[in-house]
C-alpha cells in the first residue's frame, strides 16, 4: 500500500523551500526568494503554510531599520521531509 505523499510538502515551492532549509542552518527570506525564483507574495503565503504546519520557524526582526524574516527548519519539519523522501522512494522503486 502506498503512503500518501504529504500534501504540505507535495507542492513545488514549499518543497523547494524545505529542501533549501534542510541544507542550511538558517536562511533569510531574500535568500530563499532568490534561490527559488519566486515572487515575494507567493513565497510568503507558502512560508506561512509551512509555519502553520510546524515545519519551519519564522523569526521577524529589524535589520538596519528594515523588517527582516529568517526561516529555520524544525524537528517536525525534518521528520516530515524524511518521511516524504521515503514515500517518494517507494513510488520510484515500484516504477523500476
Amino acid at each position: 500500500m502506498f503512503k500518501e505523499l504529504d500534501p504540505i510538502l507535495h507542492s513545488q515551492l514549499r518543497l523547494a523551500v524545505m529542501s533549501l532549509l534542510i541544507s542550511v542552518k538558517q536562511a533569510e527570506f531574500t535568500f530563499i526568494k532568490e534561490k527559488t525564483n519566486s515572487t515575494a507574495g507567493n513565497l510568503s503565503v507558502q512560508v506561512q503554510k509551512l509555519k502553520e504546519a510546524g515545519y519551519i520557524d519564522v523569526t521577524k526582526e529589524f535589520k538596519d531599520n528594515y523588517p527582516n524574516t529568517t526561516c529555520k527548519i524544525t524537528h517536525t519539519g525534518i521528520k516530515a521531509f524524511e518521511e516524504y523522501v521515503k514515500s517518494l522512494r517507494q513510488y520510484l522503486d515500484v516504477k523500476k
Binding site: 507542492s11 518543497l15 541544507s23 542550511v24 542552518k25 533569510e28 534561490k35 517518494l88
Partner: protein, 200 residues
Amino acid sequence: MENDNDFSPQQSLQLIESMINRAKDKFAEDGLMYLVWGWLVFICSLLQFLLLHVFKYPYHYIVWFATIPTFIFQYFYYSKKSKHQIVKTYTDYIIGFVWITFAVVMILLGFLIGFLTTGEYYSHIIHILLAVYGMPVFLTGVIVRFKPLIIGGIACWVLCIISTFIKNYDYQFLFIPVAMLIAWIIPGYKLRSRYKHINV
C-alpha cells in the same frame, strides 16, 4: 516557480536535489581574516626574533600587543559581515566552533604550561603552538574541502616535529613565520581568489 501539486515523484527528487545544490554553491569565506592574521603573526614573530636574537632586547614579546587592535577589528568585521549574511550554513557554524575550541585550548595550555612546568617553560611554547595550531587549520580544510588548508594543517604538525630537533630557542621562533606562510597566508590568498571566482 509555479505552485502546483501536479508533479511526479521524479520531478520531486530532482527539485530536492537542485535546491540542496543551490544552497551549497555560495562560499562565504573570503579569506580576509586569514590574510590579516597570517601577515600579522608572520611580521610579529619575525620582529620578535630580531629583537631577541639580534638586538637582545629583554621585552621582545611586546610585539604581540599588536594583536589587541586586530582582535577588535575582527570583532567589528564579523559583526558587520553577519549582518549582511543572508544565509547561515552548517559549515559556517561548525567552523566557528572549531576556532573557538582552538582559542580555548590555547588559553588553557598557556596557563597549564606556566603552572605545571618548571624551568624554561617558555621553550615548549613553539612546539605546542604548532601542534595545536595544525588542528583547526586541518579541520577547516576538511570541512570546506579545501586542499591548501589541509596541507597547511599537516605542515604545522611536520614543522612541530622538526622544531623539536632545534635546540636553540631563538631559532625555534622562525618556525612560526614559516607555519603562517604555509597554513594561513597561502591558503588565505587561494580562499580569496576562490571567493571572488564563485561570487562574481
